[in-house]
Symmetry: none
Subunit: 201 residues, 4 copies
């Protein structure tokens, strides 16, 4: 049973508006404001997303699936894992900002949320494949696990309030460049703690 055309359009408008506003102003914006930005009434917002969390959830699933799709393409088109990984991170920077911003608000619900969990699993498996391949090719140091990469990416992509927009937008790329240099195989500093192997806990 697919949605009516106008319903689908509304849903997309809402997700787009929510993404934009949340990134710009944080997660405290009232639902009414999101509805207004999407050009719909609150009622419509609530019809599509039964409550605040459902909206975040929709946002997250959407972004995770898109970022995964980007990654699959990079994985197929690049010759080596290291390049695919960097390209994936670079191209998914904008989407990753969404995921990073949403994470703290959703993470506790993940284990109980089939759809969200599956989206995350697919994403994490792709990332894992890349990381392992890069390590086997000798391009990435061996003492990190995919979870380390995921979490560092998550942190480095978080919004930094107070920066001029054109500066802030470029930082995830800049900082992940530094991170990648730190992940290269010839880096010797031994890491404290244990490699992170799971994405959700």
């Amino acid at each position: 049973m697919s949605m009516r055309a106008d319903a689908r359009r509304n849903r997309d408008q809402i997700l787009a508006a929510a993404r934009k506003i949340y990134l710009a102003e944080g997660f405290t914006v009232p639902m009414d404001e999101i509805a207004r930005a999407a050009g719909v009434g609150v009622g419509t917002l609530y019809r599509r997303f039964p409550d605040r969390d459902a909206l975040l959830r929709g946002l997250a699933i959407d972004a995770i699936q898109q970022v995964t799709a980007l990654g699959e393409i990079a994985w197929q088109e690049e010759r080596d894992a290291w390049s695919a990984l960097r390209r994936f991170v670079h191209e998914g920077s904008e989407l990753n900002r969404v995921v990073a911003a949403v994470r703290p608000h959703l993470i506790d619900a993940v284990p109980d949320d089939e759809e969200l969990f599956q989206a995350g699993v697919a994403w994490f498996e792709l990332l894992s494949r890349m990381v392992v391949a890069a390590q086997e090719a000798g391009d990435m140091r061996g003492d990190v696990a995919p979870g380390d990469v995921l979490l560092m990416l998550n942190l480095l992509t978080r919004p930094l309030a107070g920066l001029p927009a054109e500066l802030g937008a470029g930082l995830p790329d800049r900082f992940s460049d530094v991170m990648f240099d730190g992940l290269r195989a010839d880096s010797p500093t031994p890491l404290s703690g244990a490699p992170i192997t799971r994405w959700w806990a």
Copy 2:
């Protein structure tokens, strides 16, 4: 004009309770809960900190000053800048979590807040001295500026909800180790964007 002893004690209890609760539960905790955790009434809380922002501000100034003090010690005791920087980051990890968590809520007010601004300036100057010295000593790559280091630290120290406590606590150290490896002088990857030279914008 110094405070009476009990007033000072109240103030410290409140700041300690607020720090603990904010780190554990995020910034949505009601003022009542903080007052209760501090063992005082809301009235007293509001006498010390006229509103919510003032409390955050107190928290931030407190933490920044402490982290600066730690850094000064490291700077004087370590023989080279690189070691001082690493020690400083390592030892200030807990305090940095506070600063990182508070940043998004205060950053816009910084330019108008003399005391907060000054604390930040002192901190940033110390960090800058270390970074520049490390670069001059050939230990750190030259295409980053102190602001890059500060912001990356800020991001890498942010709380990661959903992780088991004992895992989460160790991550800032682990991730800053990777970052430091990425900052070492022999890293070749050219960075996109421009070096960040200011701490507040």
Copy 3:
């Protein structure tokens, strides 16, 4: 101007569903739920009954007319008024529950609502005929008026939440039996207040 067959069918489905749901869950059920139970869309519901009150009104008129019809039969088939009255109360128990439940929501509108008023008048006149005849036959005490009987019946038929269904269903009969015993002519206790002679106020 008679309705088309399908329109009539819709109308009846809606009334049946509404009666059932209202009795089971009270009058707080949303219109959507009634529409769903009736197997139609809300739009159709609103086409038949322009607003919530119109639906209640339909329900009430329907039930009052049916209960009156039952009463007429009893009145013709039973040899004495007292028996007719008891049979009428007994057989109309289910319908009376509807009328009793609806009363508080409609009563204020009755004087302005021709159709509802007429249905009520017919019902009340029938009841009055029975009461007066029973009194004249010496079966019913003389210090009550038809309005007393009507209101007591209304009250004793109201839903009693929290009871097991099979218990609750039998109570109107049980309790009206007690009431009839109290209404028998040889009861001596003088009543406080005045006999009630009108049905709607």
Copy 4:
């Protein structure tokens, strides 16, 4: 830890206002209106009664305890159970209206609510003592149980919307007089169904 004087006063004002408004306009009145009628802000209302149900609960417990107290007095002062019962019903008429009106909204929660349950138990035990004694004295028919009396009273005391106030206020007395006549020992009509022995189900 007893309440501050003003807090206690507020609590009482709220209960009084709620009782009055609920009886006059039903349970759909907004919380704001009750607060206004009590001369306090909504916040105060919510501080005393955490949500709508808590207010109803407070109302019910209050009324039940008062009605029980009245009954105890009647029980001690009257020479026979039958007189005590009638006096009790007569004097508690106003309070019973509250209990009757509240019942449908609370009954499902009773088994899980210690305080409410206890109040109800005390009330029911008193009523039971009276009923049993009246039956043993030969004043009340033997085929009813205390639960029958309680439920009939509950029903006969319910508000009848649409009646002029001075008429409506007298009806519970008038109708319970009829009921008492129906309950007298010499009434022969056998009742359908089984005696009701519990008050809450």
